[in-house]
Symmetry: D2
Subunit: 82 residues, 4 copies
DNA sequence: TAGGGCTACTTCCATC
DNA sequence: GATGGAAGTAGCCCTA
């Protein structure tokens, strides 16, 4: 056992690395799927940027979102960004 | 049909949004899984930052990686970072 | 001249590195300044998140921004996010 | 004073926004300067990616950097990435 | 109050 | 050039 990383530890290391790599692979597949959906939506005439905005807004609580938007609106009016 | 978005289009919109949201949900779960693995590894005494570095390096081609490292090493020696 | 990096090249390398580091330093100072402003604004009762949103929106062309917002609004209504 | 944002507050708001925008402008100029340096370096035959790596490593303490690299090396050997 | 995780933000990189 | 993902950083909150 002169190895700086004993075989049990080595096995644990390999296991961690492989688990992460497997998960990364699945993440990449999902990212491709998402890109496919947007490509389809674009092909169907939708504005992808607006779609992304809507989807982002949906992740926020509705009440909180309206509150944020109200504050932003107030600031914009105060700055003459009408 | 005074609606600016007709019902067929509306249905298509909902379908796209829901598909993306489902995929995003799965992505989030995978991200949590990855975080869990790193947490476990940390608990097992591994250096998470080094782990991430190793996993990143594994995605590179071995020959290319060694080439990069050689150049970096050369520059570091030239700068006295020995 | 057995050095893999000749002295002229070495000097050029050092010069590039130092120029970048100087610029990075200035960037960091500016980032601190920005953080200070937001801290002040927060202390003055402003909503920092909304402030950031407003400042981001100001970088967009006003007409384009309104166009985007109109599309987003249309999608949100179609999805019942009223 | 029926304005939701009183004039003093409005002035404060404008001041904050303008300060941030000015700082952002300076940051952008610095980013351009950095890009210029790398462009020059590339023109002089340097490997920009390796340069960036070296500059990043220089921000770390030398001892800490060597420690990190040793751990990474150990993990790589344990994984057979020799 | 110093640390330590957590979240959000920003920057960077790799990919198309 | 644009996009998405990852890494690093900073600020926040809580705990000890």
């Amino acid at each position: 056992m002169t190895d700086p990383v004993g075989s049990n530890v080595r096995e644990a290391l390999k296991a961690f690395v492989e688990r992460v790599e497997r998960l990364r692979e699945e993440q990449k597949e999902l990212a491709n799927d998402v890109a496919d959906v947007y490509r389809e939506a674009k092909g169907g005439g939708f504005d992808v940027r607006a779609l992304k905005t809507v989807i982002r807004l949906r992740t926020q609580d509705a009440a909180e979102r309206r509150e944020q938007e109200a504050v932003v609106e107030t600031y914009m009016q105060a700055l003459g960004m009408t």
